[in-house]
């Protein structure tokens, strides 16, 4: 049986390649049919904002890659409720289906996975 991997993405979408490279790990895992979870934590929740227009920065739209996750079999998507609230994002998210978790839920989530990678 495959080991499961939780990827914790903590970077804002254009703080550097971090957000994109965390996502690439998730997509690659999905492409290999591995059990992958993706958690957006801290500034990582900014990736979920529905109001982004990256073309202004000549950046790619990460949102398109995020929407591809379920197609790659990565449907276990989570966001920290606290991180969303701290950033006033609770009601401004894109249509990507993410489960919001409080701190206890996050702790339990990490527990469920065989391996974790926090970027």
């Amino acid at each position: 049986m495959s080991k499961s991997l939780l990827i914790i993405s903590r970077q804002a979408p254009w703080s550097g390649p971090g957000a994109r490279e965390a996502l690439d790990i998730a997509l690659a895992g999905g492409a290999f049919d591995l059990p992958i979870g993706l958690l957006f934590l801290d500034d990582g929740v900014f990736q979920l904002s529905g109001a982004q227009q990256p073309a202004n920065l000549q950046q790619k739209d990460l949102g398109a890659n995020l929407q591809a996750l379920p197609m790659f079999g990565v449907e276990a998507l989570y966001a920290s409720q606290r991180s969303l609230e701290e950033r006033g994002l609770q009601d401004q998210l894109s249509s990507l289906a993410v489960e919001r978790l409080d701190d206890a839920g996050l702790s339990a989530l990490i527990d469920r996975y065989d391996q974790v990678l926090t970027l």
Partner: protein, 99 residues
């Protein structure tokens, strides 16, 4: 499942320590290395936060980083060298480095 969380960023300008503390499981452990050992700085809120963690949470720090910075370790801290770091990574079910 018990996770060994590894931190290397200074907690004074960075949110990794505070985020980590919020999601520690009851059997988890924390290993401070690099600039994260500054959390041991006496008189700091960060040191206090570490002291206030539940007793069941084991606290470790890489000896070379603590000694390089001339820090004083709290009683609940265990200093580790690299072989002990390796042993800890075997003892805990997984290692979560806050990159």
């Amino acid at each position: 499942m018990a996770t060994l969380h590894v931190l290397s960023h200074s907690p004074f300008t960075d949110s990794r320590l505070s985020s980590c503390l919020r999601l520690l499981g009851s059997q988890d452990a924390l290993l401070l290395c690099g600039d994260a050992v500054y959390a041991l700085q006496a008189g700091s809120a960060q040191r206090q936060a570490l002291e206030l963690m539940p007793e069941a949470i084991a606290l470790y720090a890489l000896d070379e980083d603590v000694q390089a910075r001339g820090l004083v370790q709290p009683a609940r801290l265990t200093l580790v060298d690299y072989p002990a770091f390796v042993a800890l990574s075997c003892q805990y079910d997984k290692v979560n480095t806050w990159l």
